[in-house]
Amino acid sequence: MLETSTITETPIRVNEFRRFSKVFFSRGVVTAGLVMILGLTIMAIFAPLLAPYDPYTTSLEETLQPPSSQHLLGTDTLGRDTLTRIMYGARTSLMIGVVVVFSSSIIGFLLGLVAGYFGGWLYIIIMRTLDAFMAFPMILLALVIASLLGGGILNIIIALTVGLIPVSSRLMCGQVITAKENDYIMAARAMGANHRRVMFRHLLPNCFPPLVVMVTMVMGEVILAEAGLSFLGVGVQAPIAAWGSMISDGRNYLLRAPMLSFAPGFALMLAVFGFTMVGDGLRDALDPRLRGVI
């Protein structure tokens, strides 16, 4: 009398989320980057509650104060509190960054999807035009467009979006060209799915991981570029607080009040560092070559 027992061999299921977080948090700098981003975001959202002063109230008796217990990072040429303006500057930077990355991604991914999926003439026209745009350094293209449009937040957003579209669409296009060779795409076509369905239901989700990495990395670049434009004076206009223009404002007072330029630049560096590190961590964690290994 033998008892038959069926041994059901369940495949080793790796919890995707656990695998992801294990890789993602394995490096200290990545976690530090995430903390920086979260800190800046909280600072940006709750700036009116957290900031000790009003970012626009000038006080001519308190100009160029050194750091003190009243003004932790001192005051600027108009007596405004530097710490407060850095908090509001985080708002400006993150807002512009998010909008630019979002809008350029939508347009860029769409162009890349269409060019990569259909190929042929459409590919040649779209990609060659984007190649021509890639010949301009992003900051240069944005500088010319922003200054011709006349500065201001909206125009900066337009200028940086134009500068970024080639980057996102080229990445997307490359992804789609590799992904469309997969059997499941042919299967979907054979089952009668139309082009739109194949593109948005089958191709797009499969191209996602590298796009997420790019979006994070590019966020840092956009924040840096916006600060550069504001530094040159074609970006965010006074009196709105922006890190780039704050650094530039401190230029003539380096000896008297070095904190005026140092502090916003340091915040800028932390923000860019945060996004770059998180992008790096995401790349490792989303790497399909590691799937099933850890």
Partner: protein, 318 residues
């Protein structure tokens, strides 16, 4: 191989043509009227309608956009890059003079960056997982995140204002005073060098790491070759190809960075000329400089692509 070169050459010409279209139409279609700038910039006399029309005619701005583009492109091909709206002098000689200054600083930064960055990448890859590796990775991460213009101001503060070791601005021709020139470009080059350092060390590290796992490297080890020979003679030759590929990207980043750095250090280079021309809305300058930069990036990318044949024999046989 010849067909590839010809095809690549035609592609570059097409892209330069598209670049010229983009530059021309961006300048024309966006708001901002050069004639209005001339009229408002002269404080001496009032312009009548006829005079404005005459000015428009002089600059060829009364013709259709297509005719204007043909005139512009024809001029560029003949070496006529237009006349400044303000100084009424041809823009080309001034740009050439300024471009030399920018090239001097930019190429120096590019070369120094690679001289430092590539060995850093090699060390990190060979000593993977040690503190040296972590240090290299950290330095290159900081290199891509530090805003160069902010770093420039901090260097001015420390070395120029506090310590008084180096001049904080200006540019003297190396042929007039080499010592002064060296002192003046140390800080701008130090700011610009960060991006090629981190770019090349990251790329060298990652491609070397990939190659060190390959079979032929194991063969080299098993032959009993010394580490120096394996890494520098066998692995590096292949690892350096992707680093060269990125030369165009680095150049593009470097030019973008230089525009801002020249403003920080008051270097009278092409980037500074571009920014001042933009503020003055001196379109011929802006148009010509942007076109020049974009065309040189296209050419560098072309050279990089063609250098594969020389660098990587595998490409030649395919």
């Amino acid at each position: 191989m010849l067909t590839y070169i010809i095809r690549r050459l035609l592609q570059a010409i097409l892209i330069i043509f598209l670049v010229s279209l983009i530059v021309f139409f961006t300048m024309r279609l966006l708001p901002g009227d050069p004639i209005l700038m001339i009229v408002t910039s002269s404080h001496y006399r009032e312009y009548t309608e006829q005079q404005i029309a005459k000015l428009k005619h002089e600059y060829g701005l009364d013709k259709s956009l297509v005719v204007q583009y043909i005139n512009f492109a024809g001029g560029v091909l003949r070496g006529d890059f237009g006349v400044s709206i303000f100084s009424h002098r041809p823009v080309a000689p001034e740009i050439a003079k300024r471009a030399l200054i920018s090239l001097h600083i930019g190429i120096l930064a590019w070369i120094i960056g690679h001289i430092i960055g590539i060995p850093m990448g090699i060390i990190a890859a060979v000593k993977r997982g040690t503190w040296l590796d972590s240090l290299v990775v950290l330095v290159s991460n900081i290199g891509i995140t530090v805003p160069s213009f902010w770093l420039g101001m901090m260097l001015i503060y420390i070395f120029g204002l506090r310590l008084g070791w180096l001049p904080t601005m200006g540019y003297t021709s190396p042929f007039d005073d080499l010592w002064q020139n060296t002192r003046q470009i140390i800080l701008p080059v130090a700011c610009l060098v960060l991006s090629p350092i981190s770019g090349s060390s990251r790329q060298t590290r990652s491609s070397l790491l990939e190659i060190l796992h390959q079979d032929y490297i194991r063969t080299a080890w098993s032959k009993g070759l010394r580490e120096r020979v394996v890494v520098l003679k066998h692995a590096l030759r292949n690892a350096v190809v992707p680093v060269i590929t990125l030369a165009g990207v680095h150049l593009s980043l470097l030019i973008g960075g230089e525009v801002i750095i020249e403003m920080v250090f008051n270097v009278p280079g092409m980037g500074r000329l571009l920014v001042t021309s933009i503020t003055n809305q001196d379109y011929p300058y802006v148009q010509c400089i942007v076109l020049l930069i974009a065309a040189s990036i296209v050419l560098i990318n072309l050279l990089v692509d063609l250098s594969y044949f020389w660098l990587d024999p595998r490409v030649r046989y395919n």
